[in-house]
Amino acid sequence: MKKAAILFMTAIFALAIAGASAVFAEDDGKWYSGELKVGATTALDKLHGDESGAKGGAEYNSSVGYKWTTYLGGNLELSKNGFDFDADALYRDVDDQEYGGEVSLRRILIYKADYGRFLHRLDHDYMENLEAHIFPPASTGWKNWASSPDLSGINGGKTVGSANVYHTDLAPDEMFEITRSQLQHGVKLNIPQIPNLKFSFNHRFEQRKGERQAMTNSKCLACHIVSRSQKIDETTNDINPKLSLSIGTLAMEFSYMHREFDVDNEDLTNIYNGLKKKELFQNRLQYDRTTGALPYSRTPDSTKDTYKGKIRWDINADNTFVANYVYSQSTNRSTRGAYDILTGNYGQELDLDSNIVNARFHSRLSRALSLNVFGKYQNLDNENVDIRKNVRKNPAGAPGGDVTLSEGYIGKSGYSYFEEEEVRHSGYNSDTYELGTDITWRIMRGLRLRAGYEFKREQRNNYRYHNVNHSTKEHIVTLSTDWRASHDLKFDFDYKFEYYNDPYVLKEAECTPDGSYGAYAGLPAGLYDVTRAYDPAIYSKRVAARSNLPEYVHEFKFKTHWHPMSMLTTNAHVKYRYANNSDVDGRDWTRNFLVAGFSGTITPVKDFVFTAGYTYLYDSYDSQYCIAIYDG
């Protein structure tokens, strides 16, 4: 694909140069202009080793990491007898480059290209919040044990507590960063003999390289989190041909997009519970250290194909109809290997299909009234996945670490080990219907009123497998006005009311509706059975339905523009959104959002411009949480 793109670009440039040679042979005046820039940047205060740079102005600025970088740039414009060439370039350092250009041959053939490359510094999670362990000083084998309170006088110096969270950062000094580069180019062909037909072909190649932090749980599963540095080497390759055709009042457009996303970095692996040959938790895990190294933090290779068709019919001067259809299929290509759930293979590629149809009719009913009617249907269909789980049962009272998986379970009384099949039904599968209308009334010169209503129904087809509600009906009412009070003063006001009948909710999401779990119920039954759950003390007590989506929303927006004198322009804006969901158990979920600001531009004298602005943002969520005590 990359070679094809280079050949394609070379061919286009060759065509442009050939065309230019013919055109410039007739030169009789200045047909070129441009600018060349040569300089350097020095960091008076560069980013030091103890500064992450993942926030603020350094986040996307690679120059702050070097004492000296270059500044080489320029642009060139050529124009003569229907041939136009325009290019610009800027090189600061290897991770900060921008190039762009356009070649046009009598506007019949137009080629555009741009390339950019930049650095993004990423966060490093030191995981110091994962220190919820309490060990007595006797447990000297544990890192950072001294940070725990001195509990030597408690419980006779024996183990204190059994629930704990711990972490190990295996790349503590690593600075994580990704370099992103992207080439976009395309050609447009306008054939003079067929003016109603236009063809374009676009290509995009994106590359992400660098390192990021990857975490997994480790020997004690959820109790111990391990972080490593993961190399990133990902490419995205898109091709996108498009054909536009107009016949009389009818305009049509067809396009196809093929995308290949490839991951070239190696998988990270981890041996779970790998410290000892027969460790305490060995036979309480689904897979133990004898399973060997298992991959984690994987990003699958994927392919996406999108087909679009669009039609616009200008019925007459006052009425227009627009409709389009989009079909896309996204395929996970990393699952097609021989079935092995541990490496993420299911013996088949997994597809997500999407069909979208939407249409809009616009009518200018009179000089003062216009009407829109619109509708949309969307279907998402994601593939089911067959999962085969290992079920490992131990007899009551079996000692920890008694049997490993490699030793097998055959002939051992009370032990059993078998596969259990389960079908995973996707939560994506849904049908969504939308229908709406709005009307705009120009009441008088400078005053316009718009009112609209929209209905949407989302139907989740696999709701029963995900413990959520089947469907949500959404009603949206909008009312807006824009008023030009005078030549210098303008106001815009918008109000929107959203009502969701049965908003998306997770049933049995958390504690009891009164907000309590009740008393601690002790260790779960079947301690040595890997299939045991935190039941009945935790899971069975989760009976309250919760959501972080609204049942109803009020939204107000106000904007004003005032231009009182030629030297002064002012703007002010306010947006307030209140959302509430009382269709949950326990305390209501609410959100208050406010953004407001003003700005002004003043030009007190010729050649001096001053602009200043202030913005305030406030966002507040109120929800109910319950915390259960998990034991080991």
Binding site: S33, G34, L36, K37, V38, G39, A40, T41, A43, L44, D45, L47, E51, S52, G53, A54, K55, G56, G57, A58, N61, V64, Y71, G73, D123, H124, D125, Y126, M127, E128, D150, L151, G153, I154, N155, V160, S162, A163, S516, Y517, A519, Y520, D607, F608, V609, F610, T611, A612, G613, Y614, Y616, L617, Y618, D619, S620, Y621, S623, I627, I629, D631
Partner: protein, 138 residues
């Protein structure tokens, strides 16, 4: 539980042509961001009858006599008062001669103050750049 974020942002920029071929520009962006959790109301709940979990640790902290108690999470809001300040400042000047040769100088300051480091450690940084280039137009 209430989770609140706030941000104040001030932007200003100015440009002035001292002479028709000599300009000076400057811009400043300042942001103060805050985030915090309030209104935590976890009722007291602690394990009873367990040899490892139900221990009297009042000798370590009389205000927290149980080893585990959900109500201790009500103090969590003290760790949630996050705040940062960010300043991006640029000032530059450009001079262009009649023969197409020009000179541009630019100074940039990027300042990020992490007032309450937490999960990602102290993310504060201060960097300054001085950039200059000669240009030739034709």
């Amino acid at each position: 539980m209430d989770y609140r974020t706030e941000a104040h942002t001030i932007n200003a920029n100015a440009s002035y042509f001292i002479l028709p071929n000599w300009s000076i520009t400057t811009d400043l962006a300042f942001t103060l961001g805050r985030g915090n959790i309030t209104d935590l109301n976890f009722d007291s709940m602690y394990p009873t009858g367990d040899a490892k979990l139900d221990l009297d640790v009042s000798a370590v902290n009389p205000n927290m006599p149980h080893l585990y108690d959900v109500a201790y999470l009500n103090n969590m809001d003290k760790y949630s008062d996050l705040e940062y300040k960010q300043i991006d400042f640029n000032v530059g000047t450009s001079y262009r001669m009649d023969n197409g040769i020009g000179l541009t100088l630019n100074y940039s300051l990027y300042y990020y103050d992490d007032n309450a480091p937490y999960v990602y450690g102290d993310q504060g940084s201060t960097t300054q750049l001085l950039m200059g280039y000669l240009s030739y137009s034709f």
